[in-house]
Symmetry: C2
Subunit: 533 residues, 2 copies
Amino acid sequence: MMALEYEDDIVIVDCGVQFPDDGMFGVDLIIPDISYLMDRIDKVRAILITHGHEDHIGALPFILPQLKVPVYAPRLAHGLITAKLKERRAARYSVVNPIDPGVIHHIGDAFEVSWFRVCHSIPDAMGIAIGTPLGTVIHTGDFKIDHTPVDGRIFDLPSLSHYGDDGVLLLCSDSTYAEVPGYTTSERVVGEALDRAIGEAEGRVMVATFASLVSRVQQVVDAAVKYDRKVSIVGRSMVDTVKVSTDLGYLTLPPGVLVPLAETRKLPPEKVVLMTTGSQGEPTSALVRIAKQEHRDVNIVAGDTVIISATPIPGNELPVSRTIDNLLRQGAKVLYDRIATVHVHGHASQEELKLVLRLVRPRYFVPVHGEFRHLTAHAQLAWDLDVAKDGIFVLEDGDVLELSESGGKMGERVSAGPIYVDGLTTRDTQSPVLSQRRTLSQDGVVVVVATKDKKQGVLLGQPTAVTSGFLDDSETGTLLDDLCAAVAKELNASDISHEGIDDLKAKVRETARSFIAGAARRSPMIIPVVLEV
Amino acid sequence: MMALEYEDDIVIVDCGVQFPDDGMFGVDLIIPDISYLMDRIDKVRAILITHGHEDHIGALPFILPQLKVPVYAPRLAHGLITAKLKERRAARYSVVNPIDPGVIHHIGDAFEVSWFRVCHSIPDAMGIAIGTPLGTVIHTGDFKIDHTPVDGRIFDLPSLSHYGDDGVLLLCSDSTYAEVPGYTTSERVVGEALDRAIGEAEGRVMVATFASLVSRVQQVVDAAVKYDRKVSIVGRSMVDTVKVSTDLGYLTLPPGVLVPLAETRKLPPEKVVLMTTGSQGEPTSALVRIAKQEHRDVNIVAGDTVIISATPIPGNELPVSRTIDNLLRQGAKVLYDRIATVHVHGHASQEELKLVLRLVRPRYFVPVHGEFRHLTAHAQLAWDLDVAKDGIFVLEDGDVLELSESGGKMGERVSAGPIYVDGLTTRDTQSPVLSQRRTLSQDGVVVVVATKDKKQGVLLGQPTAVTSGFLDDSETGTLLDDLCAAVAKELNASDISHEGIDDLKAKVRETARSFIAGAARRSPMIIPVVLEV
């Protein structure tokens, strides 16, 4: 999420989620912290969407109930957002307006907004040109420059060039692949590889890709039609996207090519293509369950060809690799990015990034979208081209860039999250819950319960210890009895009649911690419970 | 670990550890299950080592106290093993014999063993030729074919060819990069890139690589000498390897080039090279602590050049990426594999693998070392070459291949682990401890303590609930009180005077589970504690 502020107007570009990595125990999603915007709620005019990927629209159901501002989105993104808000019961908070490229929208007093077409791994992706009193801001959204896209909707280079002619204040451009030399391969190459693979397959074909990669679905459907196969879509998120895309005309399905999964079982294997999710090794996805022989309806048989038409997103390499292994073990032929051109990515490489910088000729440049090293690499590219002579700024979440007639400078940072969504609650990164989970995950938990006789002011009976995730019962031996004896000894060693519950708990915790560290060389979470009876 | 068995003799090739991935909570290391060997302990003659990497020698301290057999290892591996056994107090269980290539060792009645030199990312790496009554078995160990290695010790292709001339029964060959077309780049290219980077650096240089990558250390030292810089080694494991390698002559350090870290602070930055561990983003490594500004002695200053001379091992991409980001944020120039040729890997690519297959001309082929998909890719290569006509077998841990005069076939599988090392204990994968930790890591733990009045046979007072890693205190509100009330209501609803502790615990657990699922939509680990007073 990026916000542009000019006097009394704020517009927001995109509103995405991030997915947690392995260290963020129990976190479902990560959303932006909008406290800066909530403090200026009267100025916020709209959220402008570039395209329908989760990392650009996924936080809307969480943010709109608070911000309650209109959303403007290209038509496919509009369809996906509408479905998402309905599902999350957040539709009533806001109006979502579909937009077409080239149409100017006046938003607030300050902004004249229009979208221009780019290419990306979802149809109907666009960049945004935001006219401001200080000059034009160009935000590319996510893009690559594909001269032969599957849907024929090419990158609108002439518009970009016109903006450049008229003078651009600031360019914000996609940095995801700024480390990669050369040009990103066209989707057409993948189409040819998929066509060949499906044409040569002797048995059933399964193709796994991103649910939102509608052009890939189109390529598979086209090849299936060519080789007289039926296609069945497996996996809810892909079924949903295919439906929205077909309804809106972004996917062309010849009548009869799509069949329900049940029907494919009546067909000979060489007449079947299954399209599934799970290209990232997601544990609950169709492909992963099929690979682990846990899918209710689909089993791998020798002769199946599985095409993983995706590249693992960093962090997903191991689950993807395991899924490939599981499929191979069951006799499938598996085609994946390392051994066949069954995927190209959706972001511009260095030569495309340079082209955009050369066409736009901005005064200021801010690389966006990517890790810090990608932003740095993109900034270096602009530096090497000697463009954006008034300033290149590498910004992180919460950074503020102030542009005025007199120049650009960094303003005071604002609070910008991240906010973790964890079941029904959201919390910030300072919460102790996550560090507690980390400790629990490493050495488990030991609960020590001691009871104090309220009248006598002494320990009543022997303490009790219960564990989970600590050691196997077979491994503990007399450890827990010894632990309880050690705690009892400690509590009996002095007069506890006047000690409060909290003091006694601290004593139990410290005794248990040091006993376990000595006896088992471990540091589990210790939960002392002291009762008074 | 691989075992060769012929009548009354067994020899073992290598004895490595595997490192846990994120799902293996609290696991330190993974070692082989040797129960098959323990059942035949009288037949086990020796462990033959190919080279000194952890995934080939790391399990020796755990295995030798049980197997108590002699070890044969190339000289650098011998030095590293000796140090490791001493540190782990396992030296007394076994004799470790240093070997030289080309010398024949008679082991048991069945085996004539000799080593031959290969190239890899540690000096003194070797393959093993094992003569058996049925024919020769060639195990390549880990290798690449580098015609210009840093230490000048080239791959012994002529010996391999001679074995082929004489006839080879079985080839076991490294499959790690069997998916990669072409040839692996020579170490010399990295030397040139490091020389240029160190020559051009204006300030201090830090180079991070694997502690065992002695040739890389040599290249950095050579460049440092050339550009009149001193080198300091930071990180215990690298200090240890450098010492062993220098003592054994595998690393040549001109007098005075190595200096203690403290001394580098008295030198101008352009006179300093620091060599560190941490190229894989390991949390406790020197580089990661430096990047996070948590290192006691070293801080990044603008003008520093950091060279990450390694490629992330699958699963380590995110921590490596974060380390790069942290270094860039502090103003360092960072060179890493994506943007500069500062690393080449140590395993053969497809053309090298084909060359070995063509020279050895085995009757049988077993691809080894790598994930299942790498083994499959290697098997496919051999298949495409039409070599190993008597059989290509893709084996996994526990698989048994039986070769006899009449042919090769799969035998009955044996128990082969993995065994998890977890602090002082080892356990198998069936242990409930790991799944408990997984549950704890997602939603934390809720402890519910209820006390039964032994005389009256009723609940005494109100139950108590304590949590960790569940929800923030600010989020729980009255949830815990309501939970305790629900448990109390359940226990008071019927006559519990005759119910045993276990029944009551089950009741508490189920009541708490269903209450929390309804009220908070979560599934924490629930630990019921029922006391009788």
